[in-house]
Symmetry: C2
Subunit: 376 residues, 2 copies
């Protein structure tokens, strides 16, 4: 397993399956999804959208998500929570509160979730899309009000400090789809103001077309200067028609049917491989999450690596070949020398070595030449 | 005179005239320009572009600009210096230096100019266009290198602290053409990091068309939240064809001839009046500077309030009527009551009152009802 998390976001069916809510064909389908997931990935992003997580104040869906998170943990996956503070899909019931009341509710919400999931979820998208947060004008919501009141940096400071106090071991991300200088400047402002951010999260959502290597590297260059790890938190490339370029807010593109096409699937496979290769070429990139694993997810976009029925698209197979074929060290027979040593090269990560019918696992955690001793 | 500075940028002929470099028709033309300037304005922005101010290291054009600044000061104008730190038109000779050497040269340059002009120029555009500064990629230059090295906020901090130490009475501006959230976030970042900025400077340069009231108010709303004074430092509306909308960097539009048209001049006059009315409706706006006073300035644009020969366009006359006709208290005969008092309403600013052939000047400096006592 590579030490870099490769993951995707949740599927509703996987949550339902982890909670034993499915039977018959639905159960079979959900099990197939999980099988495909585990065949390729080792990281899952689970949903904490406040409107869905706590539709009625005081009745959070903690147990249902915790059951799901534990399933992933039991299958050796890193689990991330997304997001703790976001203006979209936030709780309607904030709208009756004063700014101070909204702040208290948001802080208490973070304290509760981070505490309830600690040890299972130790990685959080703490604040999502802060660049647009105070100027978001599609509809009134409590978090936009709060961000207007506090300012972006003070809001980010409060949320990060709250999460860190509750779980000091957690990895805390600032996440955004805005990759313009505005996000760059926001991160600089947070760091100059002493806000402790662990990871810079970047969404790509390339529904309007793959960025290409050059743009991807340019975006990376902009954010690498902070010397912080970068996670590509939400990556999408469609295997069908591209969303028209004039759409600014992707959510404005509402279609009932957005088919995957054979040519689109070939293109998607090439672009997915190119995208992952480009990202992995930069040491700053320390996690990559696909969004969504299967079609019929967000915006009904054919952005899945799997079709709706979880059969594999070429992109799934190509990515599997890239990660487990090209990047992983294949099963290799090695012979020790007179002093009982052998050497090999490989990515950082976990390795299994066997001698006869004895087996052990060791990890490479640091760049450069390392010496590992194994006693059988 | 209104207490709000209404001004424009320098004209090369006015600088030449203040230095007694002109004769004949050129001198007459420059004198006409000055006359038109003083007829409408009380604030002048003078050029400190490093490439022109100190083309040879160690030979700054201090005396020439100081003579000009004193002329404006002698004519009761506020004089502003523009800019102390900018990547465009910066000194070529910085390119041979290390980042540390560039920083030292830039700091020393600020110390020298702010000291040499103190008492004459006490208002500075300290850092110009910091949003684009580190990612400006048209050509290599020392200030972009410096900003990449320090980061925007640390660069701004250094330049502001340097200027303030030398002239603690100076009004120090951060100035930008970028009115997107990137600039908003940069200001927030500076303030959160403890950088002391006196005034937010906003350029408009509406060569592609007047913003209109709503956009102007939206821009203002974005920056008013900082509770800092706002100066509209560089305002342009053309009286000819608009620059095509697809141009991103206005400097890319290079034409030899960009004529002012009769219809364009009527439109410009209406839009200039609307623009100044919109700005003056917001208490945060505390200075407005036109760019350029006469045609054939920047980009050869017909953005002047005057033609190239300094004859008046309708916009000049309309703005004169607005400021000195509508906003100034016209010459008014008032009669005192039994206790020797009279009352009137007017903008903040200076007022002249005469009784017989005695005259005095008083100022209204604070909003709301005030009582002024005059002894003749």
């Amino acid at each position: 397993m590579p030490s870099i998390p490769f993951g995707s976001n949740w599927g509703d069916s996987s949550i339902a399956l982890a909670n034993e809510e499915l039977s018959g064909k639905d159960r079979d389908l959900a099990e197939l999804r999980n099988e495909r997931f585990l065949g390729l990935f080792n990281q899952a992003t689970l949903p904490f959208y406040w409107a869905r997580f706590e539709p009625q104040r005081g009745q959070p869906q903690t147990q249902r998500i915790l059951n799901t998170a534990r399933w992933y943990q039991d299958h050796n996956c890193i689990v991330k929570g997304h997001p703790l503070c976001w203006h979209t899909m936030t709780a309607d019931w904030l709208l009756t509160m004063s700014p101070r009341g909204i702040l208290r509710a948001q802080v208490e919400r973070i304290q509760r979730e981070v505490a309830d999931f600690a040890g299972v979820i130790d990685m959080w998208d703490v604040v999502n899309e802060a660049v647009i947060m105070p100027i978001f004008d599609r509809y009134d919501n409590g978090i936009t009000r709060l961000c207007k009141d506090l300012g972006r940096i003070e809001l980010i400071r409060s949320m990060f400090e709250t999460a860190r106090l509750v779980n000091p071991r957690a990895t805390l991300l600032l996440n955004d789809f805005d990759v313009s200088p505005a996000y760059d400047i926001l991160i600089e402002g947070c760091l100059e103001a002493g806000v402790h951010i662990d990871v810079i999260g970047i969404q790509t959502h390339m529904h309007q077309g793959y960025w290409g290597t050059q743009r991807t590297l340019n975006v990376l260059k902009q954010f690498e200067r902070f010397n912080l790890p970068i996670h590509f938190t939400e990556n999408s490339i469609v295997s069908g028609q591209l969303m028209p370029p004039e759409i600014v807010d992707l959510n404005d593109y509402q279609v009932d049917d957005w088919p995957s096409t054979p040519e689109g699937e070939q293109r998607q496979a090439r672009e997915v491989v190119q995208h992952y290769k480009t990202l992995l070429s930069r040491p700053a990139v320390q996690a990559i999450t696909w969004w969504d694993l299967s079609d019929e997810g967000w915006l009904h976009a054919p952005a899945g690596l799997l079709h709706k029925d979880h059969t594999c698209k070429p992109a799934y197979n190509a990515l599997l070949q890239l990660v487990k074929g090209d990047w992983w060290l294949a099963r290799t027979r090695l012979t020790t020398d007179a002093s009982g040593q052998f050497s090999f090269s490989g990515f950082l990560g976990d390795y299994e070595v066997s001698l006869g019918n004895q087996k052990t696992i060791f990890s490479l955690k640091e760049k450069g030449a390392v010496r590992v001793s194994i006693d059988f």
